[in-house]
């Protein structure tokens, strides 16, 4: 509008100027001159109006074209926004479901795995230690009892042998007694012989005495007979003693022989058994050693299994991270749904607060690592090195 006024004014002024010039440099009267001036001015204004109108029409035409283009573009953008929202609405729940499933799957499988390891460890523990100790204990006891019994048998045999030798000694002593008996028997015979002689002399003297000696001769005869029977008894004792000596002698010889052989046998048997026992003992000892080694390696396996179970703690962190991812996706989905409720024309970019959403995600995290990675992702850096893993940090209050 202002342009039009200025142009009109300019046209007027030009007209007036031309009129003036005409007045000045030609023989036109003032009245005619003024008339010309007015006409020129009006003409100028008229021309300006026509030109402007034409220009206006051109602009309107152009604007119409531009508006049509503009409307098409807006429609395209609107469709694009709706399609994009649709896509996100469809995909986010799917992704969320996948995260939930993998989280649950991991948790379950790790629990099963962990339990299996615990059972393995228990199995090795109970089987190894106690069983072996019980077996060893039993074998040890068995061995000790057998050894004790065999020792007592050997002792018994030994003492039997000793008794045998003692018996032999006694028998030898007995033969000394019989020798004495024999001497005594000989003495009896000698005495009897003497008495016999004496009685013979007495009989002779009795015969010489005649009648008076007859009584005495009878006594002498009786004495002679007694002497004779004593002599016989003495001879018989000697004979018996001789027999006893003979039997004792042969018995003694046999006993001595057996005794010596027995002694030898007992000694060699004892040695044999001793050797067998030593073999068994050394076998048992190496068995015990192997047990100890086995026990040690079992314990090692158990502690390694324990380390594995400890390492399975990672599942807890994974679960938490996945849970947070799920909630983050939920927030995103909710935001989209909320926006979809509003018609496109009424929507306001300010109503989506990216900063606030990111902040909300930050408060959700439970591990320092999550926060670090979030921030480095937001600022566009490469994935940050997680060397600020604060695991195993203990503080007392």
């Amino acid at each position: 509008m202002t342009n039009k006024i200025f142009c009109s004014l300019f046209a007027c002024v030009s007209g007036v100027l031309i009129g003036f010039l005409l007045l000045l440099f030609s023989d036109v009267s003032l009245a005619s001159g003024n008339f010309i001036i007015v006409v020129l001015a009006l003409f100028g204004v008229f021309i300006v109006n026509v030109v402007f109108k034409q220009l206006g029409n051109d602009t309107v035409e152009k604007l119409k074209v531009v508006k049509v283009e503009h409307d098409k573009l807006i429609e395209k953008i609107e469709r694009y926004v709706l399609v994009q929202e649709d896509l996100l609405s469809e995909v986010i729940p799917i992704v969320k479901q996948q995260i939930t499933t993998s989280g649950r799957h991991t948790e379950q499988e790790i629990a099963v795995l962990s339990q299996k390891f615990v059972e393995m460890s228990d199995h090795i523990g109970s089987l190894a230690a106690n069983q072996q100790r019980d077996d060893e204990h039993l074998i040890d006891q068995l061995l000790m009892r057998s050894k004790a019994e065999i020792d007592s048998v050997i002792t018994e045999l030994g003492s039997l042998n000793v008794a045998e030798k003692a018996m032999i000694k006694e028998v030898r002593q007995l033969s000394e007694h019989t020798a004495q008996l024999d001497n005594m028997a000989k003495e009896v015979r000698d005495v009897a012989d003497n008495i016999n002689l004496l009685s013979l002399n007495a009989a002779i003297e009795a015969a010489r005495a005649g009648e008076h000696g007859r009584g005495f001769a009878v006594v002498a005869e009786e004495v002679r007979r007694l002497a004779q029977s004593s002599s016989d008894t003495g001879a018989r004792i000697s004979a018996t003693v001789n027999d006893i000596n003979n039997s004792m002698g042969s018995a003694l010889r046999t006993a001595e022989l057996t005794s010596d052989t027995d002694s030898e046998n007992i000694k060699s048997s004892g040695q044999c058994i001793e050797e067998v026992f030593n073999d068994i003992e050394s076998t048992l000892n190496s068995f015990k050693e192997n047990n100890a080694v086995l026990s040690e390696s079992n314990e090692l396996v158990q502690s390694q299994i324990f380390e594995v179970i400890t390492a399975l703690q990672f599942q807890d962190r994974v679960s938490q991270m996945l849970e947070h991812a799920e909630h983050n996706l939920d927030d995103l989905h909710t935001s989209i749904l909320e926006q979809q409720q509003i018609s496109l024309v009424e929507r306001n970019p300010e109503s989506i607060n990216v900063e606030a959403m990111l902040q909300k995600m930050e408060t959700r995290y439970t591990m320092p690592e999550e926060l670090t990675q979030h921030r480095s992702a937001v600022s566009g850096e490469a994935e940050a090195e997680t060397n600020e893993d604060k695991g195993n940090e203990l503080s007392f209050f």
Binding site: I110, A111, T310, L312, Q313, F314, T366, K390, E393
Partner: protein
């Protein structure tokens, strides 16, 4: 008489490791999956130490410590947190509720045993 320790955590693998560690050291172990379950199982049972996670469904660990401390039976029972959280504000909240120690997961068994031996009731 073996001493009893309660472990509260919603993760089975954590309960597994803690249980094995403590049982290996000669303790009896009761486990629970969250704060509500823990309170149910406590029910006057004598324990010498409570170990709990922070982030759990139904009732979190810090609330659990607060609630347990209100009960006469557990007023003097030592309690510690075992969690992935390492932030100072959370630690202060735990301390305020009555926890005596804070161990960040993942943990190594010797560290847990060190904490237990320092805190446990004689």
């Amino acid at each position: 008489m073996a001493k009893t320790i309660m472990i509260v955590d919603d993760s089975a693998s954590i309960r597994q490791v803690v249980s094995l560690t403590l049982k290996g050291a000669g303790f009896d172990v009761i486990d629970a999956v969250d704060g509500v379950d823990a309170l149910k199982k406590l029910n006057g049972v004598k324990i010498h130490l409570l170990i709990t996670d922070v982030n759990m469904p139904n009732m979190d660990g810090i609330t659990l410590v607060g609630e347990a401390k209100k009960l006469a039976a557990y007023k003097f029972t030592p309690m510690m947190m075992l969690t992935t959280e390492a932030g100072d504000d959370k630690k202060q909240a735990g301390r305020a509720a009555g926890a005596k120690a804070w161990l960040v997961k993942p943990f190594q068994p010797p560290m847990l045993l060190a904490a237990v031996s320092k805190l446990i009731l004689p």
